[in-house]
Amino acid sequence: MAAASPGSSPIGRIQSAARRCRPRPYSALGLATHALRSHRGWARALPDDEPRAGYAAVIVGAGGHGLAAAYYLARDHGLSNIAVVDRGYLGGGNITRNTAIVRSNYFLPERREFAQMALAEWEHLSTDLNFNIMFSQHGILNLGHSDAQLADFARRANAMAVAGVESELLTVDQIAKLVPRLDLSASARHPVVGGLFQPRAGTIRHDAVAWGYARAAGALGVDIIQHCDVEGIRTSGGRVSGLETSRGLIATDTVVLAASAGTTGLARMVDLRLPVENHLLQAAVSEPLAPIMNQIVTHGLLNFYVSQTDKGELLMGGNIDGFNSQNSRGGLAPMEEVARACLSLFPSLGRVRLLRTWGGVVDMSMDGSPIVSHTPIAGLMVNTGWCYGGFKATPAVGIVLAEMIATGTTPTVAQPFSLDRFHTGRVVPEEGHGPKPWKYH
């Protein structure tokens, strides 16, 4: 386009000042000052660094988990000679494709403790990062459709309660007050007979998490290297010695693979087979609507969940497409199922139109729980298998990975999630349907 030719530019060009980001803290005064300068002088928030020859540690994957790990490494362990590399742009993977739900209502204590740790961090993360991640704690409501299911909810809620995690069983009347649009008639095919509500759950502006961590990590000296594809992992004497990348060799003796769907492929470079396979999960948003609900609502029998964003869009999703996939273009059938489930709960939404659907390739583990673990190769760690639950754990993953990198040990909270559980059989089966990520019809 002719207008893009230099020299004749009518709108000017931003001088590529230091790519390194040295942000000043955001404040009300800062906003006012910048307003007087038409906001043209804001410091660069997102780092975009050139790779150096070597680092103390390299994290592969500049998503929420990788960026969080870098931030906590620099903040809590004083280690800033580290890099986060990504084959795309930072925050461009599943951190930006998920439906931004944060909760800790797990049945198994191992999962719950991890999620609780994350939840506590989420609650003060905006101030930690000096970046508003817009945590909206309106709660999650799991609908129950039979007495048997309510008993199952009671089982989960009681397990949570004796461990000190709060939730409530709601009656149909209470649900009617909370989400008036729900079809609560007894004649429904899957009538709502009650619900499990975790008030502390909520949603977060997911992009802000990646940006906030990237900005804060960059300010602490971490290099974030985008468009840098890892092509090989070098080892020497059973220990990692470096990464071969599209932007040259990077020497390091510590590598964390935190690349969600890319992790199995990276692990294959060192002949490491993982109990993980990649599946596609789709989500959709509707056109914006005036507020109709504040909570996240989930169907108890069909895989369906919906929440409403601050912009008014209904954000909804369902089940994984159900077969191995590295293709982010999903099928029609899962979206039809989402529409059916949505209308069976909310019959007044038939005229609502879906604006955008998308898919994210998720790394599904064989017990439904994550793998945060050292590997048989010294200095190589994997963080994968987060299934569809990776987002909510982000700050806890960051803290745990940082400690693993800095100390070479595994913190207690992460010990149940080591790789060797698949050899001892001590799996963490939150779903309990066997070593496969999909369910029978």
């Binding site: 060009r13 955001y26 609507l289 601050d310 273009r329 039809e336 989402v338 038939g350 089966p429």
Partner: protein
């Protein structure tokens, strides 16, 4: 004053004989049949139709199609009120009621616009930078934001309209019925293959409806009619108008939504499976970037042309054209023929091919600013020769054209940046499964579209290019950004993102297309950036010193246009979301006041209301009657798989932990099957009916999963085995007849046949003949009493039930439901898959270790050797008993050492199922406890804080009743 802006003549699509009344924002107007709402509003001189998202600036109709960013309206009333429709796509009808979605008290005067003074303080990304502390602040701000962003208001009532769904298969699917698509469909039809032509508008023709061109000596209308005629008469062609193909889903499966007019069904969702697909989706015009380019009265030149040609509407009286390419010449002609004065034509190119000597024209335009706060009043234009002010009420803009590559890209096709378009055009696919033709393929002009289309429709054809007069042969754009350095220059009208916002984002390091999109929301609005994305990328490229080719595009995500949840769900929501399975005796149950409950997809009696006022009372009575007399339960829902062949026993030995190949003919055996990871999958009894005929039963919920598992074990692991299997669940009606009187009732039922232990021993199976009907009797008993499962072909189920009830009357028979069955089996310590067995227990955990053969392989065997199953802290099955009749033990309660007072405690296990035992007259339960039966006699608290229940329990054996099994063997 009506239709002040309707020209006296013209308007190819409207029927001036059929005036239609409609209202907009409470005012009444008249339009003609064929008008879109946008056309009818313009005909009535209405330009301001909405307010912008952030700055609340007045906005007008900007386009004439699905790319409309401004004219978003709510249409209809009551339950049929539909928000977020584009006025450019809504056809008017008599009585149509439409309203704007933003602006209070009105779109012309919006109080919200006062917030514009805050604009300097609300830069792109503002909310990321503030409201962080105190923590309580954000929720308050969020509440305000949620309400402020509110636009489309939806009826709270269930949508009364119907949607349906159909499938269509064809050899060639042609998407778009402009010149390329029509030519493609006609050529494909001529070649004899099955063709589907899908067009989103109500009529065929596409851009040909907007021009006055001559094709091979005939008018473009004649050319459209000729091709439509060919397709309508061809038996192998199907035309779908009003049908938008919204996405491709791999292997040439496409989703489409058709709008149906004046029918009970309002939309039809199509799934179209095509052998080949021809994309003929055309191109969309881009805006130009200059100051106040969002004012009502600024409109795409092609849209103005369309309103003039199709609807005979004057979008203004005095028009200025601002362009950067040759395509606006036809708009000038069309507007002038409709009576619009063309005041001036400005071209951003240094040497514009203006082609219009009658209007003032200037090239090399450097800056444009629109004047007027509401409707456009004029423009101030800076050219090489100085500044010029022109009065006008319409500014027609063209920033070049963007091929509509959404479907091509959305199905995996690649694109490349073509400077002749200033946009991305498709790379031809190589496998022949799809082709793009016409403007969406990057070819310019009608002649090449027709030639290109015909070849795409039938690759074996090579028709000569038609001779077209008045054709366009170049759309190469000049400069797009003709903004003064400062001013409100909008990149995305839909989300109110201006150049300044992009500049702020890029300055902060959000400098990729995806980062800008997410940081500013550019391209995320109701039009999904159809008009904004290319210009937005150009602005980022400009700001960051890169080329547009380097920037790439954002991902094209379906749907191409928004699609209703109603259409996607079609008729399969509501009560039809899942099948409801009913047993042959269902109607009897409901006629006898059974309280039904779901069990997988089935509906089953939980208890019979006649037996007690509440579930516990009724079920206790039913259970007690089984123990004392005889009860009848409908167990038809249990999965039944018949296996035949000499090797069935070998397969069952592999599937079950225990051995089946040794089972004698006429006997049944209880079996447990594991998953290969060692956890219990399912259980049930299997009978050997003949030497090579077996009947296997599964739990209700696992019927299909077990069948698939058996098929897998056979076909994948042991295809050498000679056997076959099929589900016979629906072929049989089965009852459980249990209790001390059951034998007498059964004998009566079988007309006095011998059903003694000699003939039908415990775990024996025998077929009887009752009046020519086979009656299969299996002596098994889930309740732990003397009992029989009696099966007849499903059609005789009700007759069997009624006969048993009648014959059983003197024996005090009553039916019992699932609740009583639960009480009875819990007393016996029988487990239920799905409750006590939840996919996380091994056979050793639940006392079934003795059933695991050590002399043969079976699925799951090797896993049981894994260290985990020998762990000391595994939770194992025990029974629990409360000391008093009240309160009940809650299923799902946690087992803790001390009474739970809110202080977190370690969990020792949990209650998996509970009952009130009629026999023991006390609450009892089964559960999983660390230490298992080693802890019999210990006292624990079954705490259910979630329900507010807590009870002290004693750990006991899980076999509460008749542990030696005397009664069932009687």
């Amino acid at each position: 004053m009506s239709q002040t802006h309707r020209a006296a003549h013209g308007g190819a699509l409207i029927d001036r004989d059929v005036p239609l009344r409609f209202s907009f924002n409470g005012k009444r107007f008249v339009g003609y049949r064929g008008d879109t709402l946008a056309a009818a509003l313009l005909a009535n001189g209405v330009h301001v139709v909405g307010r912008s998202l952030k700055y609340r600036r007045p906005r007008g109709i900007f386009t004439a199609g699905p790319d409309e960013p401004n004219a978003i309206v709510t249409v209809g009333e009551g339950a049929r009120r539909t928000p977020n429709l584009k006025a450019t796509e809504v056809l008017i009808r008599n009585g149509l009621v439409a309203t704007s979605q933003r602006g209070w008290p009105s779109v012309d005067f919006d109080v919200g616009a006062l917030t514009a003074v805050l604009r300097p303080f609300l830069p792109a990304g503002f909310y990321y930078k503030t409201f962080m502390r105190p923590r309580q602040l954000w929720p308050l701000v969020e509440g305000v934001l949620r309400r402020a962003a509110a636009s489309g208001r939806l009826s709270p009532v269930a949508d009364p309209d119907r949607y349906d769904k159909r499938h269509l298969h064809c050899d060639v699917l042609v998407i778009g019925a402009g010149p390329a698509g029509l030519a493609a469909a006609a050529a494909a039809a001529d070649s004899g293959v099955r063709v589907v032509l899908a067009e989103s508008e109500p009529q065929l023709g596409g851009c040909l409806l907007d021009g006055e061109i001559i094709i091979d000596g005939d008018s473009s209308r004649a050319w459209i009619d000729a091709n439509r005629g060919r397709l309508q008469t061809a038996e192998n062609a199907t035309i779908l108008t009003d049908t938008t193909v919204f996405g491709g889903y791999g292997h040439n499966r496409f989703g489409a939504v058709q709008h149906l007019h004046d029918r009970p069904t309002v939309q039809r969702y199509w799934q179209i499976q095509a052998g080949r697909v021809v994309f003929a989706t055309g191109a969309l015009e881009r805006p130009l970037l200059f100051a106040n380019n969002d004012r009502p009265g600024v409109m795409l030149a092609s849209a103005a042309q369309r309103y003039a040609r199709r609807f005979g509407v004057q979008p203004g009286r005095r028009a200025v054209v601002v362009t950067n390419n040759d395509s606006t010449a036809s708009a000038v002609v069309a507007l002038r023929e409709t009576g619009v004065e063309i005041v001036a034509v400005f071209d951003t190119r240094a040497t514009g091919a203006l082609g219009d000597p009658t209007a003032f024209s200037a090239a090399g335009v450097r800056g444009v600013k629109v004047n007027g706060r509401g409707r456009v009043k004029g423009v101030t234009v800076r050219t090489t020769s100085g500044r010029r002010d022109v009065d006008c009420d319409l500014v027609c803009v063209s920033g070049g054209w963007t091929p509509t590559v959404h479907l091509h890209s959305g199905t995996g096709g690649r694109t490349w940046f073509d400077a002749r378009w200033g946009a991305f055009v498709p790379d031809p696919t190589t496998d022949g499964s799809s082709a793009s033709a016409g403007a969406c393929a990057g070819t310019v002009g009608v002649a090449s579209a027709i030639a290109h289309g015909a070849t795409a429709g039938d690759p074996n054809s090579d028709p000569p290019s038609p001779v077209v007069t008045g054709d366009l042969d170049d759309v190469t754009p000049g400069p797009t950004m003709i903004a003064p350095k400062r001013g409100h220059v909008f990149v995305d009208l839909s989300t109110d993102v201006d150049v300044h916002a992009v500049e702020v984002a890029v300055g902060e390091g959000y400098d990729g297309v995806q980062h800008v999109k997410r940081y500013t929301t550019m391209g995320m609005g109701p039009d999904q950036g159809k008009s904004a994305n290319v210009n937005g990328a150009a602005v980022i490229a400009e700001l960051s010193g890169r080329s547009l080719a380097e920037m790439g595009t954002t991902t094209y995500r379906p749907p191409y246009v928004p699609i209703t949840l109603g259409a996607l769900a079609a008729r399969e929501s509501g009560t039809r979301i899942a099948a409801l399975r009913m047993t042959p005796m269902h109607d009897w149950h409901t006629a006898h006041d059974a309280v039904m409950m779901p069990s997988a997809l089935w509906s089953r009696p939980r208890y019979f209301a006649a037996h007690g006022a509440d579930v516990v009372t009724a079920a206790t009575a039913e259970a007690r009657n089984v123990r004392d007399n005889v009860g009848l339960a409908d167990v038809s829902t249990l999965g039944k798989i018949e296996l035949r062949g000499p090797d069935v026993g070998v397969l069952l030995d592999l599937v079950y932990t225990n051995r089946f190949s040794t089972l004698a003919v006429g006997k049944a055996r209880y079996g447990v099957m594991l998953r290969d990871d060692g956890y219990v999958m399912d259980d049930g009894t299997t009978s050997r009916l003949d030497a090579d005929r077996w009947l296997l039963t599964t739990t209700t919920g696992n019927a299909e999963a077990v069948l698939q598992h058996l098929e897998s074990c056979h076909q994948v692991l042991r295809p050498d085995l000679d056997l076959a299997m099929a589900s016979v669940t629906d072929q049989w009606a089965v009852v459980s007849l249990a209790g001390p009187n059951s034998r007498a009732v059964l004998a009566g039922f079988l007309d006095g046949a011998d059903v003694s232990s000699d003939e039908v021993p415990f775990m024996g199976v025998r077929d009887f003949d009752l009046g020519g009907v086979i009656v299969r009797v299996t002596r098994v008993s889930f309740p732990g009493e003397l009992g029989f499962e009696v099966a007849v072909p499903a059609d005789y189920g009700l007759a069997m039930w009624e006969r048993l009830m009648k014959i059983g009357e003197p024996w005090a028979i009553i039916p019992y439901g699932l609740e009583a069955m639960d009480y009875l089996r819990i007393e016996k310590g029988h487990l239920v898959v799905g409750m006590d067995i939840d996919g996380r227990v091994s056979p050793y955990d639940v006392g079934l270790g003795g059933m695991c053969s050590t002399t043969k392989d079976f699925i799951g065997r090797r896993s049981l050797e894994m260290p985990v199953f020998a762990d000391q802290d595994r939770q194992k099955l025990v029974g629990f008993m409360a000391a008093h009749r009240d309160p009940m033990i809650v299923a799902g309660a946690q087992l803790v050492a001390d009474a739970f007072d809110g202080t977190p405690q370690p969990s020792h296990g949990r209650v998996t199922s509970s009952a009130f035992s009629p026999v023991l007259d006390r609450p009892i339960a089964l559960g999983l406890l660390v230490g298992g039966t080693d802890r019999i006699g210990a006292r624990l608290h079954a705490a259910s804080p979630i329900t507010g229940d807590q009870v002290e329990v004693e750990v006991v054996s899980p076999h509460f009743y008749d542990p030696s099994g005397q009664r069932q063997r009687a």
